[in-house]
């Protein structure tokens, strides 16, 4: 298989397989989790304005009082790489074009110089949070193979994408093929690892906020 054949495969059957596993995986995992259900709360609710599941879905993105100071790298690094990922994934013109071809949906992108910068900043932030995971006793203690593995499968698409655009290290065709392959690995892995928090986070925040809402705890 030469470079072109490799690229053709990842763009064709490879992409179909990865997207298929991703979609079925997400649906299955969501079913597996949320079909467990929960018991109705029979205690009398105490309603207070400003307390509900929906409030917590949004508010939990902001550090609670005192927390930013206690763990600045987690919050600042976390914000930067999450926003950075969003920018490079969804606001890069060639990505938007791909999504348009797949779904018909389209939106305006950002200039490629800006995406370049965002990619570098994202990678830098990811390296910082990785170092923090190695250095901080609590994070190192909690970390399993999955934590290092999911970091790598998230980092590689950004790195290969950036290298491809910059025409660095490997011929463009090969690097582009590797980039697409790394994205496919990410898609396949996402539903079955902690990366699935991208979906369950909304449910978790909502459940937590719902309990507080029921008790009238305004948070």
């Amino acid at each position: 298989m030469n470079e072109l054949q490799f690229l053709t495969w990842v763009r064709g059957p490879g992409l179909d397989i990865a997207v298929g596993i991703f979609l079925l995986g997400v649906l299955w995992r969501l079913f597996e989790i949320y079909s467990l259900g929960r018991k109705k709360d029979l205690s009398a609710p105490r309603s207070t304005s400003g307390a509900s599941g929906l409030h917590t879905v949004f508010r939990r993105s902001i550090p609670p009082p005192g927390m930013l100071k206690r763990s600045p790298v987690s919050y600042i690094g976390g914000y930067i790489f999450h926003i950075g990922l969003f920018v490079v994934v969804f606001l890069f013109a060639p990505h938007i074009l791909l999504i348009k071809n797949l779904t018909g949906l389209s939106w305006p992108g950002l200039p490629s110089q800006f995406i370049d910068l965002a990619a570098v900043v994202t990678m830098a932030a990811m390296v910082v949070v990785l170092v923090d995971r190695i250095n901080k006793p609590v994070k190192r203690f909690l970390s399993t193979f999955e934590d290092w593995f999911t970091w790598a499968v998230t980092f590689l698409p950004v790195l290969t994408g950036w290298l491809a655009v910059q025409h660095l290290l490997l011929p463009y065709t090969l690097m582009l093929a590797l980039h697409i392959l790394s994205v496919q690995i990410l898609l396949v892995v996402l539903p079955f690892t902690k990366l699935f928090h991208a979906f369950t986070l909304f449910g978790s925040r909502w459940y937590n906020g719902k309990v507080n809402g029921h008790k009238g705890v305004p948070v």
Binding site: Y34, R38, V57, R60, S74, G203, K215
Partner: protein, 421 residues
């Protein structure tokens, strides 16, 4: 032993629901929950990271309720939960967790970690791995009627004393009274002023109230140990008493977990909504204050601060009332850092104060409270939970801090003129 482990694992499987599944799938091992937990912040030991305290429960979840986990279990790639493991987890689930809920308040993905610890305790208790101290408290509550072994005659003796001291009647089993007042053993034995305070406050407000001879103890060690069957027995006593006396409202005493047990878990434990309301005494006082039924004279002039009991504030939603009440009788009321919703636990809630072998750790964790107090240097510390009060007194004594601890209800009552309404 294997039969009990089996029972424990079965209970763990039963308690896992959609929220718990969602929480475990959302955790990204960021470790921020550790920063919210006083057992971690004061010791620096990563094993006290709240989400880590749930590791055995997480494995049961993965092995029983996920496709990949079941596959791994089938091919022998997963580690089953063992008795030794659960035994070693006792310190993490009981001694070093007061169910204070700060972790649940900070988790960025929204995990209600303390909800899971509460559920995990069900399995720990069913597999025989709960601490002896709480087991003893539960046994005494079931057989004698209270965790400290207090029986009705002791309550009646105290009622008599209070009636003599205050010149006010203490009604017992008065049918049709508006309020049924509950006590905690701690108050019966250590803080008799509470009952006198209630008598004065109710007399001034012109409200009818009663104690109940079959349900005077409000604390619920069954909930703390994590045994819903026992917790149900204890709640059912109160429900029977309240329904027999046809009261409108049951008042939970100055005790955090009694309030959570009755207010939020009670109806779920007995499987039906209550026919009466449940309020913490601070909520009732807050209502009296709003309705102008709480008339006080004079002010405390020394510097006072307020320790929010976790179950009342963060887990119970009663945050403003105690502040309004403080301001009614105190001229110099100052707040500690993090006061209110994010207040730090005394270190002995959730049954932890009943665990003898956890004392050293509790004293270590108390450094957090010490730093909060050092920041404002109060003359006295006010709170609204008898258990907090005992734990605070122990900690203050250990660190040689001369700060008396008082109950808010008593302090309010001291400012009610003796003639009454």
């Amino acid at each position: 032993m294997s039969a009990t482990l089996e029972k424990g694992v079965r209970v763990l499987k039963e308690v896992i629901d959609a929220p718990i599944a969602s929480y475990f799938n959302s955790c990204v091992h960021c470790g921020l929950c550790a920063e919210a937990c006083l057992f971690y912040t004061e010791t620096g030991d990563p094993k006290y990271t709240p989400i880590h305290k749930l590791e055995p429960l997480r494995r049961v979840y993965e092995q029983e309720y996920t496709l990949l986990g079941r596959l791994k279990k089938m091919v022998g790639l997963s580690k089953a939960v063992t008795d030794e493991e659960l035994d070693s987890w006792q310190e993490l689930v009981y001694n070093s967790c007061t169910l204070c809920g700060r972790c649940s308040a900070v988790c960025p993905v929204g995990n209600d970690i303390v909800y899971m610890v509460r559920k995990f305790r069900e399995g720990m208790s069913a597999s025989g791995h709960a601490p002896e101290g709480i087991k003893g408290a539960v046994n005494r509550t079931i057989t004698i009627g209270s965790p400290m072994g207090v029986k009705l005659p002791a309550v009646q003796a105290q009622m008599k004393h209070v009636e003599e001291d205050y010149g006010l009647p203490i009604p017992l089993d008065a049918e049709g009274a508006e309020y049924m007042v509950m006590l905690s053993s701690m108050e019966i034995i250590n803080f008799p002023e509470y009952l006198g305070a209630i008598a004065k406050i109710m007399n001034q407000a012109g409200k009818t109230w009663t104690l109940c001879s079959t349900a005077f103890e409000a604390t619920n060690a069954g909930m703390q140990i994590g045994n819903s069957d026992l917790a149900r027995v204890l709640v059912a006593r109160i429900v029977e008493g309240a329904e027999k006396l046809k009261v409108k409202t049951v008042i939970s005493p100055e005790c955090g977990h009694a309030y959570t047990a009755l207010r939020w878990e009670g109806a779920n434990l007995i499987g039906r909504p209550f026919s009466f309301e449940v309020k913490h005494i601070i909520e009732v006082l807050g209502e009296f204050q709003e309705q102008g039924l709480l008339k006080t004279e004079g002010f405390e002039t020394d510097k006072l601060t307020f320790h929010d009991p976790c179950q009342l504030a963060r887990r119970g939603g009663v945050i403003k009332q105690q502040r309004n009440l403080m301001n009614q009788v105190a001229k110099n009321f100052v707040e500690m850092p993090d006061a209110g919703y994010m207040n730090w636990c005394c270190g002995g809630g959730g049954g932890a104060s009943a665990i003898e072998e956890g004392e050293e750790l509790r004293i270590e964790a108390f450094k957090k409270k010490k730093s909060q107090l050092d920041a404002v240097k109060p003359d006295r510390l006010v709170t609204a939970c008898a258990n907090c009060r005992i734990v605070l007194e122990e900690g203050l004594e250990h660190y040689q801090m001369d700060i008396p601890v008082i109950g808010l209800t008593e302090m309010i009552a001291e400012h009610i003129p003796d003639k009454g309404a």
